[in-house]
Amino acid sequence: MILSERNTLFRLILIDKLLIGILRAGAMLAALVMLLILFFLVDESWPVLSKLSIVRFIDDASWHPLEGAYNLMPMLSGTVLTSVGALLLTIPLSLASALFIVFYAPIHLATLYKRLIELLSGIPSVVFGFWGLTTLVPLINQWNPPGASLLAAILVLTMMILPTVTLTAYTALAAVPEELLRNAAALGLSRWGMIKGVALPAAKTGIAAGIILAAARALGETMAVLMVAGNVVQYPETLFDPVRTLAANIALETAYAMGDHRAVLFVSGLLLMLLVMVLSGMAGLLEKQRHA
């Protein structure tokens, strides 16, 4: 009884099968890229990884690849310090911005300010780096030379990740159900009481995910930091000391590196990727928690 009067069924099923085949191929390719990247990073760093013990990257005197000193720790610390510093500055400022857009600003001002932040999120890192180089570094130099320093890197990074954190925090806050806020208001809560008691707790996983995302971005940021950080391989003692980050190191030396030097740079690339992967893994977990 269940029959189609025209035999379209076969065609229909074939089309679906074909489509799924194509889609699967595409997805396969996408997944492959990841493996390819991992393979090439490991392959290129293999010459040193197989030869040197891991301890060398922690224990060597310093980073002088041409003299066989491969300590990555000063650069790792530079990377972490710049990122943490930038986050410490960014988090309060971004939260304030997001709260301003969602709860404080009148609607026109809110859209205007949000546009500004969106515009900033699109500004390329070289432009921030360029601005830092021509404006910020000379300013700091007058205050406490040489200017190109941890502080400059932190400030430039802050400007770069601030839009990211602000926009994700905004999204998380805007996604807080209207009903929750209406309930809070109906209980006679003041604006800040509502924000602190209800909105922020409800949005916290989203905000945290945004912060982690920004942290990943800060760790991997290259050009802007390269331009303003001074790039001296050392553990900085003050905010005004120059530092070199892992990413900046790669950008600075890869073009000139060969042999073991090049391989060590790939090792630092691997290290960087591992660092960022851990972070984005954390973000993924948070995301899952939020949807659960």
Binding site: H64, L66, P146, N231, A257
Partner: protein, 255 residues
């Protein structure tokens, strides 16, 4: 088909950032003489040039130093001479520094300009990043290892060194004399210091009395032939001496 076209008509040069601007100009003139040939000049440092030539990524490498013993497998062709010297900002009253003073500054024993007769300000030491031949030459001159140097800023190319010193009146750096004269000619407030009592100038490099000088080479992995040979010959010929001089290098005489 694009591959073969590229292989026959495209020359890739990589290597020293000191030579790259000069070769870029030479290449432009060469291209205008021989339409159909394209010459891509990529910078990356002398070591890079050697590496790429060996790997076949580049047809010609640019090396701003003499070849080392373990590089005897390559063929080198000098196209110009250059010197490297110390630079400071034009506002800096210091005119000359001894070898020891320079070593003192670069190893962090001397940290203020007034020690060497300058203003009362902290010295900002500008060093080059690992892998640059200018760095090797400089270290060689001071008899230092790179790990002994205590820099405040690390830069990549010559121009970046000049730029850094321009932006910081208390900085000290070292770059190719050619590059500095080129910039100074354009009015950049920058000064070369003399070394060992010899004034840093193109003229002194030509006369081979400047202590920190080097030859600028084009290198190939095989005996050059075809377009590669033509280009190298062109780069060494008197046809480009004006270009070499314009970049404040010293031309070689092949004639």
């Amino acid at each position: 088909q694009a591959q073969t076209k590229a292989a026959t008509q495209r020359l890739v040069l990589t290597g020293s950032s000191t030579i790259a601007p000069l070769v870029g100009e030479i290449a432009r003139r060469f291209e205008s003489l021989y339409p159909g040939v394209r010459i891509d000049v990529q910078t990356g440092g002398s070591a890079r040039g050697i590496h790429d030539v060996r790997k076949g990524i580049a047809a010609i490498g640019m090396v701003s130093r003499a070849l080392k013993a373990d590089e005897a497998d390559l063929h080198a062709f000098v196209i110009a001479q250059d010197g490297v010297s110390i630079i400071v900002h034009a506002d800096n009253p210091v005119r000359t520094l001894s070898r020891e003073q320079i070593a003192g500054i670069y190893t962090g024993r001397i940290t203020r300009w007034n020690v060497v007769g300058g203003a009362d300000a902290r010295i900002t030491v500008v060093n080059k990043a690992e892998g640059r031949s200018t760095l090797e030459l400089f270290l060689d001159y001071l008899q230092l290892k790179n790990s002994e140097i205590k820099p405040h800023i690390i830069i990549g190319d010559n121009a970046q060194g000049i730029k850094t010193v321009l932006g910081n009146p208390h900085a000290i750096g070292y770059v190719s004399i050619g590059a500095v004269e080129f910039e100074a000619q354009r009015g950049a407030p920058i000064r070369l210091l003399s070394l060992d009592g010899v004034e840093a100038s193109v003229e002194n490099v030509r006369q081979d009395i400047f202590p920190l000088s080097r030859s600028l080479n084009l290198v190939t992995s095989n005996e050059p032939h075809g377009w590669v040979q033509q280009f190298i010959e062109f780069a060494r010929s008197s046809q480009v001496h004006d270009l070499v001089r314009a970049q404040y290098f010293v031309p070689v005489n092949t004639d």
